[in-house]
């Protein structure tokens, strides 16, 4: 092999502490190296031309560039050598900037280390072989997981672009948390007025297939070609037939079912359509409360249903969908304030969560939009809001800021004043975080126009005294303890990752942080992509977010999908495992350890079995290679011989 070595000065970045001339001179002595030089900026246009010129003039078959990190410029140089007619994998980089010149000042030591790294790169290159990508068709259907506002936005954007969309929602209805809100900050728009039409659109678009009351069972495949199994949970109602007339609800004798939509305030019927604008507007039976399903004689709904949609024998059903991309928009859950023993640990009915208060405020809520307190239905006069409950609190394992609470408290305090002009609202806060457009003005308005009393300090304890709750807190600005007797206490419960986020991430093979929020590819530059190609993020599943940001991310993820779907095919990565059948002893260990199910049995004539890699599924981790006893399976571009060649240079 004829190898050329190009040592980059990177201005003074490398040449400042590495003798690049000497490195090049030494490289000329390495086996197969026929050309070596140093250059000011190898990645520059003239630098790349210099490489291309040398390939042509010296008849080079492989190129080593000693420069910065391959994570920086490997793609650049691969393109450059490809333009000069070499296979892009006949190229290696030695990282002599991040790993050498920038981390030590001893010129002599740096130079000798750089020489070693170049020697290793050359040794590896001698075992490189041309690799070729193949093209795979892209299935231009999108799966959206989660039907909250972020998922709806993404689905509608893609559907508008003419793509087929499959939406899976865990709940019986779409709309997510936003569907439960009364008004939205800072405009005091009615939440259901702005979300409603979008929900209807989802139901009406012919190219959107909606699976509500469904969950992801399994996901296999890869970008462009995912296969998704969806579990349609038992609803006990044939949704094909159900017209959402609600007759069953009216007659259902089981009246004390948990009202999840109203956050446990009030009660629902065992057969239920959670709210009048629900999409899909279909009834579902809560098996825990249904008399018939608990062995009692009933079946009233089945008798009353005009279209005979009730089916007590119904079972979960698995459906399979094939898609080319996935947008994850599974949203968030609310922190459960029961861990705050000092706030009653959930024992006091009049100490409620922010979302419960939202339901109280809502005209479709348990009290028809009249503010009453849960314990006795009385109208509260003194209302205390406490921020940062389950946010910025390391002692409960939630050290992060939930980002939305300061704003929703201000909104709720304003709405409270609108509903009950005679009431007084108090907000205990640590800091006010309102960095959005017109956000801070909104919080100021709560204080200046609506007379909400903001108290800078945390609350130490809430306890009952007679009919009222005593809120014992601090005003740190004055340096005094303060006490407020309240009729109702609203805790600004923080945002946490959605229940089961980790399990879904495992199915999707995407990363998540210690709190269960999904990790984006790059916090600034790739905010809606994940490290698994073809899987994108939108909304609060990635971290706490308000509605505008969630919608923006929904659209951003949709545009990523549309640019993927603009192509008919995608190129596969050829750096995958490959089986040398002659050496394969069919022990099956590679199949056992592959994290991606990318290896399968292949039967040769005479019934002889061998392992076979599905190149398009293989992600290139190399676990199989490390496991295979006769090393019959080799990860291309990181073969045993290539790694051994590098190690051997150090053993000598």
């Amino acid at each position: 092999m004829r190898i050329g070595v190009f040592v980059c000065n990177c201005g003074t970045n490398i040449a400042g502490t590495v003798d690049t001339k000497k490195v090049a001179a030494e490289a000329l002595g390495f086996a197969d190296v026929v050309y070596a030089t140093n250059y000011m900026y190898t990645c520059s246009e003239p630098g790349q031309q210099e490489i291309q010129r040398a390939i042509a003039e010296q008849g080079l078959q492989g190129v080593v560039v000693a420069a910065c990190s391959p994570r920086m410029h490997e793609p650049t140089f691969r393109r450059a050598v490809e333009k000069a007619g070499l296979n892009r994998y006949m190229f290696e980089m030695a990282n002599i900037r991040e790993h050498v010149s920038w981390i030590g000042n001893d010129r002599e030591a740096n130079t000798s280390k750089a020489i070693d790294l170049v020697r290793m790169a050359v040794a590896k290159l001698r075992f490189n072989a041309p690799l070729f990508s193949s093209k795979m068709p892209v299935n231009k259907r999108l799966l959206v997981i989660g039907g909250g506002v972020a998922g709806i936005q993404a689905a509608l954007d893609c559907a508008d672009g003419g793509m087929d969309v499959v939406m899976v929602e865990r709940q019986q209805y779409i709309g997510g948390k936003m569907a439960k809100l009364d008004k939205t900050f800072p405009t005091i728009d009615c939440s259901s007025c702005i979300l409603g039409p979008k929900m209807v659109d989802v139901a009406q678009k012919e190219n959107i297939t909606l699976y509500a009351a469904s969950e992801i069972e399994s996901i296999s495949g890869y970008i462009g070609n995912f296969t998704v199994e969806i579990r349609k949970k038992t609803t006990f109602v044939n949704w094909e037939a159900c017209t959402g007339c609600g007759a069953c609800m009216e007659k259902c004798p089981s009246k004390k079912a948990a009202d999840y939509f109203n956050e446990g305030l009030g009660a629902a019927r065992a057969i239920n359509i959670p709210f009048p604008q629900a999409i899909p507007k279909k009834a579902m039976i809560d098996a825990a409360y249904c008399r018939q399903l608990n062995g009692k004689k009933c079946g009233v709904c089945a008798k009353i249903c005009p279209v005979k949609a009730i089916d007590f024998e119904m079972k979960d059903e698995i459906v399979t969908e094939k898609v080319g991309a996935i947008i994850v928009a599974t949203g968030y859950d609310l922190f459960d304030h029961a861990v705050y023993g000092e706030y009653g640990g959930g024992r006091y009915p009049d100490v409620i969560s922010g979302l419960q208060y939202e339901r109280i405020l809502s005209a479709s809520g348990p009290f028809g939009g009249h503010i009453r307190r849960p314990s006795d239905g009385k109208e509260p006069k003194e209302i205390v809001f406490i921020s940062c409950v389950g946010s910025r609190d390391a002692s409960v394992g939630r050290p992060y800021c939930s980002g939305i609470c300061c704003m929703y408290i201000a909104k709720q305090a304003i709405l409270t004043r609108d509903h009950l002009p005679e009431s007084n609202s108090y907000v205990f806060y640590m800091d006010i975080r309102s960095p959005g457009k017109n956000y801070d003005e909104f919080v100021r308005r709560a204080q200046e126009e609506y007379g909400v009393q903001y108290i800078r300090g945390r609350v130490g304890k809430i306890y009952r005294r007679g009919e009222r709750m005593v809120v014992q807190g601090a005003d740190t600005l004055l340096g005094v303890q303060v006490e407020v007797e309240a009729d109702l206490v609203v805790l600004a419960t923080g945002v946490e990752s959605s229940l089961g986020a980790g399990e879904l991430a495992e199915k999707l093979r995407i990363s998540y942080d210690q709190y269960g929020f999904y990790m984006e590819s790059h916090p600034k530059l790739r905010p809606v992509e994940t490290n698994t190609a073809g899987v994108y993020l939108a909304g609060a599943c990635q971290g706490p977010k308000d509605i505008p940001s969630s919608v923006a991310q929904g659209s951003a993820a949709a545009s990523k999908v549309q640019s993927l779907f603009a192509h008919d095919t995608i190129e596969t990565n050829p750096q995958v495992a490959l089986v040398n059948e002659r050496n394969c002893i069919a022990c099956g260990k590679c199949i056992q350890v592959c994290p991606f199910g990318a290896i399968q049995w292949k039967e040769l004539r005479g019934g002889i079995k061998k392992a076979e890699v599905l190149a398009s599924v293989c992600q290139g981790c190399g676990v199989c290679n490390a496991t295979c006893p006769p090393k019959a399976i080799q990860l291309q571009h990181a073969t045993d011989n290539q790694i051994l060649a590098e190690v051997n240079e150090l053993c000598a």
Partner: protein, 205 residues
Amino acid sequence: MERTNTLSIQQSRDSEFIREVEEESGQSVSKCYQCGNCMASCVYTFAYDYPVTQIMRLIQLGQRDSVLKSDAIWLCANCQACTTRCPNNIDVAQVMETLRIMSRKEHTVSQPDIQAFYDEFLRSVKTFGRVFETGLLPVYNFRAKKPFTDLDLAPRLLKKGKLTFFPAMVKKRQKIAEIFEVVKRDRFSKDGKTRPEAHSAKTDS
């Protein structure tokens, strides 16, 4: 302890003080973000010159004198409410304890009568091995110049047979006295500073 209207941050900052408090208490004082929960939870806030939150703030600013001469650190009853509720897992009560020990060493105790009571208590322990409740009070009253403290209780307690007139004594009092001597010797062996290995019981929370 004087409150001034302008605090010269650089000049008044004693970074050695911050380091000492953190090292002796094993707590990271910079974690405090002054939410006020300790102040809100402390039942003695009414009596303090500086509420606990401000004590923490003063430590962050390196205000050695204000902290070590404060009433607050001596009025703290170590009831642990602050520690239990601190959102940043700071053992605030431990910090207060550390400050008390420091103020004793630096002779800046703001509450001489409380110190007198503690001293008398320890004297009793050192002498008898146990605390002699009936004997403790009169001596304290004498030293703290509050001769009538709890005098009202005496007749009733006498009637209930609750007052004893002879101290119960530990047999191996020698051993107890030895513990006192060793601790005292180590404590003042290095220029009045604590022994080098004497970090707080908690090194990491």
